[in-house]
Amino acid sequence: MEFPILSLMLAVPLVAAIACLFVNASTARMAALLATLIDLALGVLLWLNYDIGGAQWQFTERAQIFAGFQYALGIDGIALMLIMLSVFLMPICILASWDSITKRVGEYMAAFLLMEVLMIGVFAAQDLFLFYIFFEAGLIPMYLIIGVWGGDNRIYASYKFFLYTLLGSVLMLIAMLWMVNEAGTTEIPALMQYDFPVDAQLWLWLAFFASFAVKMPMWPVHTWLPDAHVQAPTAGSVILAGVLLKLGGYGFIRFSLPMFPDASADLAWVIFALSMVAVIYTSLVALVQEDMKKLIAYSSVAHMAIVTVGLFAFNVQGLEGAMMVMLGHGLVSGALFLCVGVIYDRLHTREIARYGGLSINMPKYALFFLLFTMASIGLPGTSNFVGEFLALAGIYEVSTFVTLVCTTGIILGAGYMLYLYRRVAFGLQKNADAAAMPDLNAREWAMLAPIAAAVLWMGIYPESFLAPMRQDIAALETRLASVAPRYDSALEVGAPRTQAANYVEPSHEGEGEH
């Protein structure tokens, strides 16, 4: 029996969460930071010990302590990367809430640590029902985070978040019950190999889609996201955008695609249609936002649409691209929310017009903000470029039309992000209070610098991140190979001509008449 590192990663924040409920504010902050840093260290250890090219499922743990399902953990490369994203963002979230959260600090930290437990649990669960429990349980801490520590309209946002996501996921439970009844196992790896009847796949796919589409979120069920983002405290937005939105993509790649390949192929057009609408529509909506957080929230919906398009390309580039966009977007949108949080803490408004010319009085801040803006646009050398390029290259092999529309979204993305940056950082210092804001302090440096480093690393040497996932994505592609759609713009191979194109039929009639 090897060392149960995944269980340890779950246990550390759980113990710290319970402890945080009983201690005073400053101790709770330190305890939370310590626990998340330990988890980050464990995560690094996990990555270092992950055997690339080895067994598909590593660090597996099994314990039969429940009836009806089991405590089964284990990760593949895809889960590893998403766990790394979670443990990387968590200490940063704690730092982001260091000064801005002053009431009920212990409960706040406990809620965040609980979120970390549940996120790691979701990605590590190898039992279908264990996955569901972790997946659904995230509603409780997030509901409290938005509702207790959120903005003015927090109650509406928390209700909307809770009920939307709950309605999405309960039908998935019925589908899971049916699948387990049919296949006779709750093990996710076994279910990924099981061939469900084709006519049942359609219903199962739709039930899972209802859940993941809300989580993702896809147009038109994305409306909870802007509300939740705007009302949540900064760290809450970071976790929402950074990790919780990835649950939808993870669900597609782990469940919908390998378990229901036929239905996925049949319904790929739905995904394409919704994603195309999302890319264009939400980008246009983002363009007119007056509220910084709302703008970034809408941009998230557009980026997630690129993810879904890449996933349903059914080829290696598309799948790898989708994963890279998820990782890159997790870092970049998280960082953008942190950037908003930095100036929100100083001026207590998210209204874009209240700022201006920040590059004069906050040059360091402006530099970081510029980097993340460029990364969000997908500038080569940053994380998002790799992902978006791969995803679009993948979808180009399936449909040139979808690629055309989605690429337009990238252009619009450049539009709204640069416009945002211009209004906030460039131009005149028209507001005296905004002009008087001090530059980044040491804590904010510590939050933004690691993300900036990761964004550049991912952009310059993406192989570090692609290598662990390569084998799993290849396995998924093999599973999908039989149903992969044909390329819509493939060149037709015509019948070869028997003669050259410039051949002129010799005429013999007039010969020698002169």
């Binding site: 302590i65 009806g68 009920l163 019950l177």
Partner: protein, 484 residues
Amino acid sequence: MSYSTSLYLTGAEIGLSLAGLVLLLVTAWTGEKAARAITIAAVAALFGALSFNFSLFDDGVAGSAFGGLFLADGFAVFAKSLVYVATIACLIVAPRYFDARGEYRGEYPVLMLFNAVGMGMMVSATDLMTLYIGLEMSSLSSYVLASFARRDDRSSEAGLKYFVLGALASGIILYGVSLVYGFSGTTNYEGIRAAFSSDFPTGAMFGVVFVLAGLAFKISAVPFHMWTPDVYEGAPTPVTAFFASAPKVAAVAMLVRMATGPFGGQVEAWQQIVIFAALASIVVGALGAIGQQNLKRLLAYSSINNVGFILIGLAAATPEGMSAVLVYLFIYVFMTLGSFVALLMLRDADGKALATFDDISGLSTTSPALAWCLLAMMFSLAGIPPLFGFWGKFVVFQAAVQADMVALAAIGIAASVIGAFYYIKFVKVMFFDEPKVAGPAKAPVSHWVVLGLSVLVISPLGYLLTPWLGNLADLAAQALFYAA
């Protein structure tokens, strides 16, 4: 079958009856002074019945007593244990509650004991006569308990309403019973089953429907649920906690035994009724609760909602379904006891109950421990994992899916989202709103003990119970089908 065996199998009921009679005499002689001692004696008697029950189970003794009137089997043991545990919990919290109003008397534990006897007979009955006697014994003591706070108009009103409507329901059951008897020629469950397996005339169908309608009243399933909010609101809170737990367990167990026993050959005759009642209860329980301001009324609707989920397990009509019903009942008892005891503890320094949403706003700052316990209860009732309430819903829906009733499961679970709305409203009021009134006064230790144990069971630790609980429930459900 010798009398000694019969007496042995009915030992728990006989012991409780004797204890009840003796304590009744003691009460008559000593008056209010000994009320507390009588409560302790009653709790001891119930613990005795509980352990006797377990010893029957451990010895593997199962059998019919008094020529097929009474059956002691795994199912009865499971249901009775739950009933006794719930009764004990309601007895433990009662004295301090009534003492605050100076209303505690020795009749309370005595009535609870007689009620327990009646409930024990309900779950063990294998004859329509035993069933009716058990049901009436339990109901009559319940009517008195509902109006136990004599100086409170609402309590008297609750008692009267409960009596009038309960008597009507009993009449409906009795009419159904007479029809069933008339068409089958026997009141014995096995005899009825045998008679109906060869011939099931329309008149007998009416009998089945009438019996089910009367039982639906007892478990407060829609469309016979109207009395529940009024009675739950008016009755003293410990009594409400009792109504929502023990008699409900007994009535559901009785319904399950009837459905699988005498009517077990006519599944298609009652299945549609149960499906309708299940879905209607879920929806009405959820919608009705939304507008409520009074916490007890809200929990009354919540119990209607929960009965709907229990009936989904019954609608499956399989051993897995009945096992799921029992697991759900187990979890439901702890959720109900926990949430009503928490309401019990919500009283300000003057002893006035904090009864509405306005009274508990901002509870998380004035009384954090209580607020967190209630939060766990509410999310558990809403069926959100990782709390244990999720497991109850999980098993009933699993049973429905296994019985190929996917549509029922899908509609039921989608409707459960409506219910989630008011449960999270509870949390919102306690955690998101600012306090409007001073928080609750310090609650007695006995209340904290019951609440703490309930929270422990419904916490994620409850999942560690699932192998044990599932095993017991499976055994109990098999007993049901083996006998049938």
